[in-house]
C-alpha cells in the first residue's frame, strides 16, 4: 500500500509540476465549446438544445488530448520497465496512474463546465445534471483512454492512433452522458453511465497491464 501511495504522489507531483498542462486543457475545453456558437449561429434556443452534446464532445476531445502523457514519458525514459519489475502488480500501477490522470485531466474540466454551460445558455437543472453526468462519465473515458494509450505505447506514432481506437469504444459514454442531461429518463441514463464507469474502471487496468507487458517483452 505504501508503494501504491508513493506512486500516486509521484504521478501527482509530476503532473502538477509539469507546467501549464492543466490550464491548457481547461482552455481547450472552453474554447472548443465556445467555438460552436460561431459555427451554428448564436440562436439561444438551438444552443440550449445542443449544449449537452457540445459539453460532452469538448470533454471527450480534451480527455483525448492528455492521453499521450499517461504512459509515453515513462516508456521513453525507461521507468515503465522499472515499474514492471516492482513488487506492486502492473495493474495497480495503472490504477494509480488512472486516478491521477482523472484528477488532473477530468476534474479541472468538471470545475470549468459551469462556465461553458452558461456560455451555451443552459440553465438551472441542466447545469447540475451536466456536472453530475461529467462526474459519473469521465472515469469511463479515462479508463478507455488508458487501454488505448497502453496498446499504442510502443508505437512511435501512437499518439495519432490511440484516438481512433478509443472513439468507437467511447460512444456509449457519450450517448448516456448527453442522455443524462437532456433526456426525460435522465436518472436511468445516469445509472447506466455509472455502471459503465464502474465496469470500465474494474476491467481496464488488467487489459492495459496485459497490453503493456506483452508490448515490452
Amino acid at each position: 500500500m505504501t508503494a501504491f501511495r508513493a506512486l500516486l504522489f509521484r504521478e501527482l507531483r509530476l503532473a502538477l509540476r509539469g507546467g501549464g498542462d492543466m490550464l491548457t486543457l481547461v482552455l481547450f475545453f472552453v474554447i472548443v465549446g465556445a467555438v460552436v456558437p460561431f459555427a451554428v449561429g448564436p440562436d439561444r434556443e438551438l444552443l440550449a438544445r445542443i449544449a449537452p452534446g457540445i459539453v460532452w464532445i469538448a470533454a471527450f476531445l480534451a480527455m483525448l488530448l492528455g492521453l499521450d502523457r499517461l504512459f509515453r514519458p515513462d516508456h521513453e525514459d525507461g521507468s515503465l520497465i522499472l515499474l514492471r519489475q516492482a513488487e506492486l502488480p502492473l495493474s495497480m500501477v495503472i490504477v494509480a496512474k488512472l486516478i491521477v490522470h482523472w484528477l488532473v485531466s477530468a476534474v479541472p474540466l468538471i470545475i470549468a463546465s459551469p462556465l461553458l454551460a452558461v456560455l451555451l445558455s443552459m440553465e438551472g437543472d441542466a447545469l447540475w445534471r451536466t456536472i453530475v453526468s461529467l462526474l459519473l462519465g469521465t472515469p469511463a473515458l479515462a479508463a478507455f483512454g488508458a487501454v488505448g494509450a497502453a496498446v499504442t505505447v510502443s508505437i512511435r506514432r501512437g499518439g495519432l492512433i490511440a484516438p481512433i481506437l478509443i472513439a468507437p469504444l467511447s460512444i456509449p459514454v457519450l450517448i448516456f452522458g448527453t442522455g443524462s442531461i437532456t433526456a426525460t429518463q435522465s436518472s436511468a441514463a445516469m445509472l447506466f453511465l455509472a455502471a459503465l464507469s464502474l465496469m470500465a474502471l474494474a476491467l481496464s487496468p488488467f487489459a492495459a497491464a496485459l497490453a503493456i507487458s506483452s508490448a515490452e517483452d
Partner: protein
C-alpha cells in the same frame, strides 16, 4: 531434428508450425473455391430468376440476398477474430496471430459492403441513403473498430509483438460491442421511435428464404476461402520478410 524423428504431435501442435499449416490446409483450398463458386452460381440463379418480386419493393428486394449475408459476416468475422485473440493470448498459438491479422481486412470489407448495399436498398425503399437507425449506427461503429485494428496492425514494425497487443484490444472490443449495440439502440429509440426498422416484421415466404439461405452459405464459404488464402499469404509474407532480414544482416557482416 527431422520430421520423422520428431516426437508425435497432435494436429493442434502440428499446425502451430506455419509451414506444416500451409501443407496441411493447401488441399482444402480448391474444394473450398469450387464449393463457393457452386453456391454462388445456385444462389445468384435463385436470386435473379427464381424468386418473386416483392409486392411493395419490386426488384429491389433482391438486394437483400447480398445485404443480409454481408451483415451476418460483419459480426461473424469479429467472432473469428475474438477466438483467434484468445488463441494468441491463452495458448500463444502462432497461427492464431496469422488468423487474426488475415481476418481484419476481410471483416472491414464485409462490413463496408453491408453498409453500402444497405444504403443502396434504403434509397428506393426508405427514400434515404442513410438513417441514424440503431442497426446502421452500430454497424458503422463496427466498421470503425475494424479500421482502427487495421491501422494498429500497420503501425507496428514487429508483427509478433503486435499480435499480443492487438489481441488485447480485440478482446476489449469484443466486450464493448454488445454495450455499444445496446446503447445505440437505446439512443435511437429515444429520438425516433417511429422509424425504427424492424427486420422481423414481415414474415418471409419460402420462395425468398431459399435463395437467402443459399447466398448466406455462399458468402460464409467465400469468407472461409479468402481467410485461408490470406493466412497462407501472410505466412509467405513473414517468410519473405525473415529472409530479407537475414540477407540484410549477411550483407552487413
Amino acid at each position: 531434428m527431422s520430421l520423422e524423428t520428431a516426437p508425435k504431435l497432435n494436429w493442434w501442435n502440428r499446425i502451430a508450425n506455419p509451414g506444416q499449416f500451409v501443407i496441411w490446409t493447401k488441399p482444402l483450398l480448391w474444394p473450398l473455391v469450387i464449393l463457393t463458386t457452386a453456391l454462388f452460381a445456385a444462389g445468384l440463379y435463385y436470386a435473379f430468376f427464381n424468386s418473386p418480386e416483392d409486392y411493395q419493393m419490386g426488384d429491389t428486394v433482391r438486394i437483400m440476398y447480398v445485404h443480409v449475408p454481408n451483415a451476418w459476416l460483419s459480426q461473424f468475422v469479429y467472432g473469428v477474430m475474438t477466438i483467434s485473440a484468445l488463441g494468441t493470448l491463452v495458448w500463444r498459438h502462432p497461427m492464431a496471430d496469422v488468423s487474426m491479422k488475415a481476418a481484419a481486412p476481410l471483416g472491414a470489407l464485409f462490413t463496408a459492403l453491408a453498409l453500402f448495399t444497405g444504403s443502396l436498398w434504403g434509397r428506393p425503399t426508405w427514400g434515404t441513403f442513410w438513417e441514424w437507425d440503431g442497426r446502421m449506427t452500430s454497424t458503422l461503429v463496427l466498421l470503425f473498430i475494424y479500421l482502427g485494428l487495421i491501422a494498429l496492425w500497420r503501425a507496428f514494425d514487429d508483427q509478433l509483438r503486435a499480435a499480443r497487443v492487438i489481441a488485447v484490444f480485440t478482446l476489449v472490443g469484443a466486450i464493448n460491442i454488445p454495450i455499444i449495440k445496446f446503447s445505440v439502440d437505446w439512443w435511437s429509440t429515444l429520438h425516433q421511435p417511429a422509424s425504427v426498422f424492424r427486420p422481423d416484421g414481415p414474415r418471409m415466404p419460402g420462395s425468398i428464404l431459399i435463395p437467402l439461405f443459399v447466398m448466406f452459405f455462399a458468402f460464409t464459404f467465400l469468407f472461409l476461402t479468402l481467410h485461408l488464402k490470406a493466412m497462407h499469404t501472410e505466412v509467405k509474407r513473414r517468410r519473405v520478410m525473415g529472409l530479407q532480414r537475414r540477407m540484410a544482416q549477411g550483407g552487413a557482416a
